[in-house]
Amino acid sequence: MEWLARLDEQIERAPGFFHKRPVVLDLSVTQLNEPGIRALLSELQSRDIRIIGMEGADPSVQSLDVPGWPPMLNGGRAASGVEVRDEPPPTPAEPEPEEPAALLISEPIRSGQSIVFPKGDVTIVGSVSSGAEVMAGGSIHVYGALRGRAIAGMLGNPRARIFCRRLEAELLAIDGLYRTAEDMDPTLRGRPVQAWLDRDSIVVAPLD
């Protein structure tokens, strides 16, 4: 098979490429039946490629449960680069909203302006000025300096968060709890941060 020949070339160029890597075989580009798959698997096995699962096979093959074969998988996605995170924040387990409810604003929010969006998240591409306020039923994302007030989870949502690229806020509030500039750690000023609710207090932590 031509594909196997190309695979051999690849292995020759990069001998360690498949070394100890778990590989999922995508069969959707082939029309292989059971004997074909069996042949392919033994070919790959002879090259020391560890197949941990197969997906995208023909439906008739999909239902097969041949002993010794890797399990059939569904709904896999191509992985991008490996993610390494220092101290990941607690992952939000936000329930999926019924309809996409988000407001995108691509202009700065000026002093005296008030953005109120009880239905969901608010994203602002720009700054929120001193004396301006943004209120959202969900989370608030500010891709700029947050100098005014941000009130997330305004109708009662303890999972709402506030993100900004530069913290200079006068007030942060989530689910009715608030924190004024005076109570914020001064070392966080001017930095990209996120704020979330941990029991009964607002936690502000740098994003970088």
């Binding site: 002093s111 005296g112 001193s130 301006a132 100098r147």
Partner: protein, 271 residues
């Protein structure tokens, strides 16, 4: 096509009236037909700064209410004949101004002049909102200090929402004029830096006017600085700003007083 320009700031005492007179005079000195209008009903000042206080007969409110014709109320400047003033009433109330009346006066002025410059009162009440409502462009006058910057930010928000252009979904052209800029204090870090002000307000810079005794003196003798002392630092800064309003590309500098050859050779760069 005439352009209606509003000079506004939110905060009082930052130099709106001085800047209206100086920009108006500078444009007129460049050959443009200019009228400056005082919208500060009850606290009129522009007539004083323009040196026309002894020639006021009718005012903006008389014209709005139909008691006088526009030609009767306009005061032509004695020094530059392309410059006119429409004064405010000192005795009447702001409530005498109506949006329709102002629109009518402005439409008439658009026919006669190249530039209609409205000197807004301080604050964000009716007088200020009426002054900006019909404008095509705005000059936001700001001092390099926090309260002035916040008030300017508020005004920019109103310019983007409470004007005819905003209501039609059109963009309002906005320019920042930084006034009372003190190079010595800026160097000592006692004022907001130009970059910080620009970052917060995020509108293009029209000019930087240095703090100067000359400006105060000019106001007191009733002559815009571009007339009384065109070679002064502030005078040159206003001339540059007027050229930028007309679309010329002038490098941004903070003019300094000419004290000698060195001063002539090296204009101070923007901080």
């Amino acid at each position: 096509m005439a352009k209606v320009l509003v000079v506004t700031s939110g905060k009082g005492g930052v130099g709106k009236t001085t800047s209206t007179a100086s920009l108006g005079a500078a444009l007129a000195q460049g050959g443009q037909r200019v009228v400056v209008i005082d919208f500060d009903v009850g606290l009129r000042n522009l007539d004083l700064v323009m040196g026309a206080e002894r020639r006021v007969v009718f005012d903006l409110i008389n014209v709005v209410q139909g008691d006088a014709k526009l030609s009767q109320a306009l005061i032509r400047d004695k020094r530059i004949d392309t410059l006119s003033l429409l004064p405010a009433s000192q005795t009447r109330d702001k409530d005498a101004l109506t949006s329709d009346g102002v629109a009518k006066v402005l439409a008439e002025l658009r026919e006669k002049f190249d530039w209609v410059i409205c000197d807004s009162p301080a604050g964000i009440e009716k007088g200020a909102t009426l002054a900006m409502y019909h404008a095509d462009a705005a000059v936001v006058v700001t001092n390099p200090e926090v309260s002035s910057v916040r008030d300017s930010d508020r005004i920019i928000g109103l310019l983007d929402s409470k004007t005819q252009r905003a209501e039609r979904g059109e963009r309002m052209e906005k320019h920042l004029l930084l006034t009372r800029y003190d190079s010595a204090r800026a160097a000592r870090g006692e004022m907001l830096k130009t970059d910080d002000v620009l970052e917060i307000l995020s509108i293009p810079l029209l000019g930087i006017i240095p703090e100067s005794e000359e400006v105060l003196r000019a106001s007191n003798i009733g002559a815009p600085i571009t007339l009384s002392n065109p070679a002064s630092a502030a005078g040159r800064a206003y001339f540059d700003a007027a050229k930028r309003l007309r679309g010329e590309d002038i490098p941004m500098t903070v003019p300094v007083e000419r004290r000698g050859l060195m001063g002539k050779l090296f204009g101070r760069r923007v901080a």
